[in-house]
Subunit: 472 residues, 2 copies
């Protein structure tokens, strides 16, 4: 790849998804892309890491929901991507508006911009092969095609969308033309697709010129195009975005466009769209089980156990998925793991917190975990990251006892400042102005015992905040 | 039943069992008989409650392992049973020694004593029918028979022992003589037993004269008899008990005795010997499921979900048992619920705490729950029952921060006494003598944050204790 091509090539990472089929590990406020499913990095970080040798950091763009801004910033900090490259959607409108938005921004600055559109929550176990496919795709994109990566199936998967491919000669080039898109098929059909070899999985990874995709959006989604044109800069997005109709790029543009081609890819890919899809890429033991938990088993087969601190004992189970988190357990028949989304719908209907938050709640300054609540008290462990501080605040109805168990705290209480060391404690009465800060380069951990008759998170008055959480 | 009969009738409740097949609800230090499986009382309390109109409280005896002494005392407090009626075995030796021990004690004071031997961890859903059967059994016992209650089977249960009965005329009386005992049969055999109507379940409920059972023990277990004779009073039990060989009354005496008869009982009984046995007596919903948890289900059949605070979501499961506790989860195929004992054996092999203790650990003065542990700290919630106090103690390696969140604490720190109210806190440094007391008639709850490099339960030096836990 020559230097000029690198300069024109941009990554557009779609990082606004909710991923409800990965519940209970994913939650609305902690979606799949921010989870550390395998080892050292989150799926989003892996996505950036994979393309680091191909695309300059100044050319990496992220689109996400504004509620994820703090997570995104934290996660991409180590990659030195410019902050201005994070584009915030006021609300999710599916892929077509998000892709159109970035295309428009890119075109302002580079008329030859080529976009590599990447979901942020997929797994690719052959990253080098992936980069080779991308090189081919970029060459075709430069010849004015909309290029989609088609994954060569290795099993009759019913959880994916398929693309029927017909090989054609377009002028001088032989390409795989897209005959049609097929939504999740029946098992019977999926078996047929696997045999025929004319079908690939729709990966949601696309490569095209910003100018071409906007041309096609103008042709097939003229209303969306008009709205996108109106967004001259990101400050003006709110009122316009509200009026945009949600639609996917597949359904809105690709299924209609005459410029769409697909190139086959063999890159050990999964969209992690269900627990079973994850299981599809994990290494099994001799009884076809996968245990990622503190577990004991007697005689189970084809089961997948994922857990944390708790002990999970299994006896004689078959074809089952058990996903254990501190506040919620999922037990699901393997072939029904797509139905987890129905559980999430039930949770929504019943207004259950377990849909939205984990027991450990992330905050821009760190996190807290509620250990216990009872009449008149709540116990939290609060972790403040190095050099971060909470807002200057007060609570009208609760007092707080803090015991420092790790690190050293700098505490403002009223007008005075204190340093509180490990194994020391401090008391903050109700209505007392206070601020908690970690002044060191190591983590700070405190135990907070709240007492009072009303102990709600929204009993907080903020006076100053490092994370712009004070609404005017 | 006339008054003289009541005077001669004694209940002997066997309350020393461990009940490993009810894990993870039961633990070694919290066995089945002390659990509240149904509603308002524990199984032990239910056992006493059932016979309250038939047997005077002075005539109710309990045999248990000495490690359960505090639990037993708490549980029977409301029945006003004399403390001397609790006989403590230094260690469990199965049923024959325990029954022989009480028989000997009863005979000292009443040569005509009739014993009703009752396991403490069974469920009987027809208590009135049970009392009627007992009346008949007592009459036969007085005629010098060893009487065992035989439960009329209603299903081909493979988890129970069976007794083959032959009806005979012994002198003037028609009785069911025991032809043989059958250990847990195959399903095929159990189906045959159910059809033939000559088989009953061995309930472990026995009625006999103390004098007769001792005669039979002397005949068939002469060594045990000799040992029992040596125990003149309970203070002398330790060295003698050590030498006794564990053996069940069934195997050691009943299978050999010529005096054994059985009377059939239809009392909706279960020994709760497995999760499936419990399920056998629970009411099912229209899909044959039982949910005793905060649960959400989509399309499961024949499943049993038992839980606590955590949400349990189930999708498309069949014939499954899910038992969730704060520190351990069991997922078991229904027909394999007998194998839970093998999990408990594995836990023993791996020296896992989850076999022995619950996350909430009971103490004679109340309980504590470990909420979190980390490097250098441990967080507990400690509940002290009304008018109880912990020992006068010190810890060599840890400091303790206490925040009172409910009630009022009386605290000795060094030589001084303090009252600490709700929403107040106190600090106890390492090596400081201290004592925590609940002076009121309402519960006291404190949050304890321990800090220090070594945080082990055995870092305690006791100086005074209300519960005789200071070893000389």
């Amino acid at each position: 790849m020559n230097e000029s091509m690198r300069n024109n090539l941009y990554a557009v990472i779609l990082a606004g998804g909710v991923g409800s089929r990965f519940w209970p590990l994913s939650r609305e406020q902690e979606p799949k892309q921010f989870l550390n499913v395998f080892g050292s990095q989150t799926l989003l970080q892996d996505t950036i890491w994979r393309i680091r040798t191909k695309i300059r950091k100044e050319n990496i763009y992220l689109v996400t929901n504004s509620m994820y801004i703090h997570d995104i910033k934290k996660q991409i900090a180590k990659f030195n991507i410019p902050q201005k490259n994070i584009l915030l959607e006021p609300e999710g409108k599916n892929t077509a508006p998000a892709i159109g938005l970035v295309a428009m921004q890119l075109l302002f600055q580079d008329k030859d911009a080529v976009m590599l559109v990447l979901p942020s929550d997929h797994l690719i176990l052959r990253p080098k092969a992936f980069l080779r496919v991308i090189d081919r795709a970029v060459n075709l994109a430069k010849k004015n095609f909309l290029v989609t990566l088609g994954i060569i199936p290795n099993r009759p998967e019913v959880g994916y969308g398929y693309i029927k491919v017909v090989k054609k000669r377009l002028g001088k080039i032989r390409v795989g033309c897209v005959e049609k898109f097929i939504e999740k098929p029946s098992l019977e059909k999926a078996v047929g697709f696997l045999k025929s070899k004319n079908y690939v999985w729709n990966s949601g990874i696309f490569i095209w010129k910003a100018s071409l995709i906007l041309e096609e959006i103008k042709k097939y989604l003229p209303e969306l195009y008009k709205s996108l044109e109106e967004i001259k800069n990101m400050q003006e997005i709110y009122p316009i975005w509200k009026t945009i109709k949600p639609i996917s790029i597949d359904y809105g543009v690709l299924e209609k466009s005459k410029r769409l081609i697909t190139i086959p890819a063999n890159i050990s890919w999964t969209d992690l769209g269900s627990w079973d899809a994850l299981l599809g890429v994990l290494k099994k033991d001799k009884n076809s089980n996968v245990f990622k938990a503190d577990s004991l088993d007697i005689g189970s087969k084809n089961i997948f156990v994922w857990g944390g601190k708790r002990l999970i004992a299994t006896v004689g189970l078959e074809d089952l998925i058990l996903i254990d988190t501190p506040d919620a357990l999922l037990a699901c028949r393997r072939e029904l793991s797509q139905n987890v989304k129905n559980i999430v719908e039930l949770l929504k209907k019943h207004k259950r917190e377990e849909r939205i938050l984990h027991k450990t709640v992330k905050r821009p300054w760190g996190s807290y975990t509620i250990l216990d609540t009872g009449t008149g008290y709540k116990i939290k462990i609060v972790e403040i990251e190095p050099r971060q501080r909470l807002s200057l605040q007060l609570h009208k109805r609760r007092a707080e006892h803090w015991v420092v168990v790790e690190g050293k705290a700098k505490i403002q209480k009223g007008r005075k400042n204190f340093y509180v060391n490990q194994n020391e404690s401090i008391y903050i009465p109700a209505n007392k102005l206070h601020r908690l800060e970690n002044p060191l380069k190591v983590p700070l951990k405190i135990v907070e015992v709240q007492t009072g008759k009303l102990l709600q998170e929204d009993d907080i008055v903020r006076f100053k905040d490092d994370y712009e959480r004070i609404k005017p």
